[in-house]
Symmetry: C2
Subunit: 343 residues, 2 copies
């Protein structure tokens, strides 16, 4: 059987500091579209790839952070994507099935049964949503807000990186739960979208706030019950003294710190004691057992227009490195997706 082109995005070398497009190479390899005899692997064609902040952590050379699949120089990046089965050696998958889960940054990939992989059953929504609202970021927002955050009606909720893949959903879930919600983001366009499109009560551009503490006091004169943490650093340090008694801080990410060789120090942790605050890190992998419950919750809300989802879609795998790097300067507006192929 003839081989076909298999363009790949590979890591050039471990990254320190801000990632650049040149930290990745575009390679034109080739692949034989055939699952080896006796193998239970699945060969997929990648349609959409997801740009996620956690990918920055996977570019670091570290000895071991449990369960993070770190990248290897000269190998393609791995990440979440939406793919179509070309050929299957596994009884659960057949040619033509649509799946989402962990794949590689290339046109065609072999997927093993140990990788996170969900079959896509609902196709009356944009397929790209399975990299976002119906995929890992959606499940992250759902688990982090409802399971870790334990919201109650009337809670005051603050979300950082609020227009991102996860943040925009946390804010909307909070509004559906009867909470007061304020988001921070990094541009006027994002702030307008949060207030006028996504239904946040308030939003502000953190780059325009010289004194973050007084900004928070302005929006939360009575304090914050839930801070959904996406950014870390100065934002977290300003939030801590503004937490309310028995507040919760689900820690989803700390994107502001991933590119710093020395992270910013957090000095206000004693407020965890004063206000009896629970700060809890979580990883979506621990919650995938609730994925079908999540779909039951969110699919009707999408079709009824009660939850919106903003995507920033870039065409072409060769434009993937720029899209991924853009996450860290906040270039994207909404969930950053890379289209590899439309079908």
């Amino acid at each position: 059987m003839a081989e076909v082109r298999n363009m790949q995005v590979v890591l050039r070398d471990y990254v320190a500091g801000f990632p650049k497009e040149s930290d990745m190479n575009i390679l034109e390899g080739s692949i034989r579209l055939k699952v080896p005899e006796g193998s239970n692997e699945v060969l997929v064609k990648n349609l959409y790839l997801s740009c996620d902040p956690v990918m920055r952590i996977m570019m670091i050379k570290v000895e071991a952070i449990d369960e993070y699949r770190h990248y290897t120089p000269a190998s393609p990046l791995t990440g979440y994507g939406v793919s179509k089965v070309v050929e299957s050696g596994h009884p659960d998958y057949k040619k033509g099935d649509l799946v989402w889960g962990i794949t590689k940054w290339e046109e065609y990939s072999f997927i093993t049964s140990s990788q996170i992989c969900f079959k896509i059953e609902h196709t009356d929504v944009p397929l790209s949503y399975y990299t976002g609202i119906l995929g890992m970021p959606g499940m992250t927002a759902y688990a982090g807000f409802f399971e870790v955050g334990s919201p109650k009606k009337g809670d005051n909720v603050f979300v950082s990186a609020a227009s991102g893949a996860v943040g925009q959903l946390v804010g909307q879930f909070a509004k559906l739960s009867g909470c007061y919600v304020v988001g921070s983001a990094g541009s006027k366009e994002k702030v307008d979208q949060l207030k006028n499109k996504l239904g946040f009560d308030e939003a502000f551009n953190y780059k325009e706030e010289a004194d973050f503490n007084s900004a928070l006091k302005r929006y939360f004169p009575e304090g914050i019950d839930i801070y959904f943490e996406n950014v870390g650093g100065k934002t977290l340090d300003a939030v801590l003294p503004n937490m309310r008694l028995h507040g919760r801080i689900p820690v989803c990410g700390m994107i502001s710190q991933y590119n710093l060789t020395q992270p910013e120090g957090i000095t206000n942790l004693a407020h965890l004691i004063f206000k009896r605050v629970k700060m809890e890190g979580f990883v979506v992998n621990d919650f995938y057992h609730s994925y079908s419950k999540f779909l039951e919750f969110v699919l009707p809300k999408i079709t009824e227009g009660k939850v919106l989802y903003v995507e920033d879609i870039v065409e072409g795998l060769e434009n993937g490195p720029a899209a991924l790097v853009g996450l860290f300067s906040g270039r994207n507006v909404g969930k950053q997706v890379v289209v590899v192929s439309c079908e």
Copy 2:
């Protein structure tokens, strides 16, 4: 009725930096040993006063940290103590009753019904224990370890300030729960006591560890399940990357930071995510409803010798300021108590 002497320890002025004996004054006032007609206050003679790290926080001038009773310059310090009722305007207390709870640093005090106050029913133990193992620190260790820490048999437990009023109990409770326990303290004497008297599996002098991270790796090659946080700062920052998956950090205190005008920055909080760690501040006041359950648990363990308690007892209210200040240089070995009067 004649008045009697009422020696008091009063705060001279708000404190910045390390507290000094001279931040407090000894005053010789006087008091009429009589509850005013119609008042429901209780007049007590203070027997033992407790030196607690939280008293440092109460010396700061701050606008409002909810529920902390901050000191007022020229007024006596408040704190926990053991006292004997001299006269009572309150139906629940009568002359001769022994009580423990919030009182003032003086020989005689009026206590109001809104103050935390427990009647002492068991007197077959040293009365001073009600400032420690049978009082606020005991209840703190119990609630923080069992309720916030959620220990399981076989857990790896690390306790900082391990020979202090709370730490020595956390370690012993952890051993009773089938955990592996390591404590850190600030002198050879304390370390020996932890290992040879209090039953810790291991203990080390943090002042002798140039690289705290490798010390933790040595004692916890498989990581830490529960870190009972008493000190904050560099210790916390070294602990975070050594936490185990789904670890818990009950945050009881951060004594290393209370005297710094600028707290040390914590840079490793992203490990809360990597390891799904829950870090939770708590205050003992939220757990006093379990006090009788705690007594049922701990009293037999004291009489059977299964739990020991080390006290550092100073005689005389006039020596109280030095005893209190000594907490912050680690001068005390065990729970620091001041004897005001023996009966």
